[in-house]
């Protein structure tokens, strides 16, 4: 029984240590916990969905507009998975193309959110207007922050791919960011259904 063989399985030697399951485990832990995070905000919204304190309520929603931006975010999951696929095939150029596409679609979604929020503010719905306003902005705001962080990470990876520093086994990798990005997408699927479609 050679030491090297044990080390290879155990991970005592850096180059032989398979870090993928280690990092993936940590990412799934994080995603599992994020359900409780968003769950709390969605529950708060559902509690306050009619507590408008005399201010505007769900009549402000522009379902066609939000549907369009939801569609954009949904398609960004496609580009994300194509980026991962390209990376697995070691095609750095394709990876880069799809990463940038994902970041662009995500940014488009964010632009839509910002436009929507600005509209609502003009029509009298702000954070301090009512519990409805507070919970709406907090839920969609936190989701937006998650999208923004994702766009930032996607851009960073696209840049790293230029200098050949996008590794499979070190630091940020395409698969992990993909998991995060898809998660942000499925949370929006829930928010879109529960906040927008159900109240319409």
């Amino acid at each position: 029984m050679t030491d090297a063989a044990i080390e290879a399985a155990q991970g005592g030697h850096e180059e032989h240590h398979d870090v993928k399951p280690v990092r993936k485990t940590a990412m799934w832990v994080f995603l599992g916990s994020e359900f409780v995070f968003f769950g709390a905000m969605i529950a708060t919204f559902l509690l306050y969905r009619n507590t408008t304190n005399g201010g505007p309520g769900t009549e402000l929603f522009d379902i066609p507009f939000t549907s369009a931006s939801s569609f954009v975010l949904l398609m960004s999951s496609l580009t994300m998975v194509l980026a991962h696929n390209a990376f697995e095939n070691k095609d750095m150029r394709q990876t880069r193309v799809w990463l940038i596409a994902t970041a662009l679609l995500g940014s488009t979604f964010l632009a839509g959110q910002i436009f929507e929020f600005t509209e609502f503010i003009h029509q009298g719905l702000t954070l301090p207007t009512s519990p409805f306003g507070s919970s709406f902005y907090m839920l969609t705001g936190f989701h937006g922050i998650h999208v923004a962080v994702g766009v930032m990470l996607l851009s960073a990876m696209a840049i790293l791919s230029f200098s050949g520093r996008l590794y499979d086994d070190r630091g940020l990798n395409v698969e992990l960011i993909g998991l995060y990005w898809h998660f942000v997408d499925i949370i929006w699927i829930v928010i879109f259904t529960v906040v927008y479609l159900m109240q319409a």
Binding site: A9, T25, W28, G32, G39, A43, L47, L74, T193, L197
Partner: protein
């Protein structure tokens, strides 16, 4: 001593082999399949958007339909894009426990407020 060595070697081999096995033999959808999945998601979204504007579906029927459609989209992204269908049980457990736990706890909270 040799039997112990072989036993240990098997332990180590199987541990190392499992990981490789997972990585090499996972079923990855092809890019073409990914596009088809995205098309299905788009169609489902289109149906969802239509539901609120159909008067006949007002009330609990419409809400249930929205949940079902949303649930299918959710499931497809998780199982296929996030690959969870083909991943090891630990990841499935982390995901499902978080999801189920959050659902259970917050449904209870909303029930105590009689908000649902």
């Amino acid at each position: 001593m040799t039997t112990e060595t072989t036993e240990v070697e098997e332990l180590v081999d199987s541990a190392a082999h499992d990981d490789h096995h997972d990585e090499e033999h996972l079923d990855h959808p092809t890019p073409k399949q990914y596009w088809l999945i995205a098309l299905a998601l788009a169609v489902l979204t289109g149906i969802e958007i239509a539901v609120p504007s159909i008067d006949a579906l007002d009330g609990p029927v419409g809400v249930s339909l929205l949940f079902i459609l949303g649930g299918i989209k959710f499931g497809m992204v998780v199982a296929l894009f996030m690959h969870l269908k083909f991943e090891k049980p630990l990841y499935k457990m982390l995901f499902l426990v978080g999801l189920a736990g959050a659902l259970a706890m917050f449904i209870v909270v909303l029930l105590t407020f009689q908000a649902i």
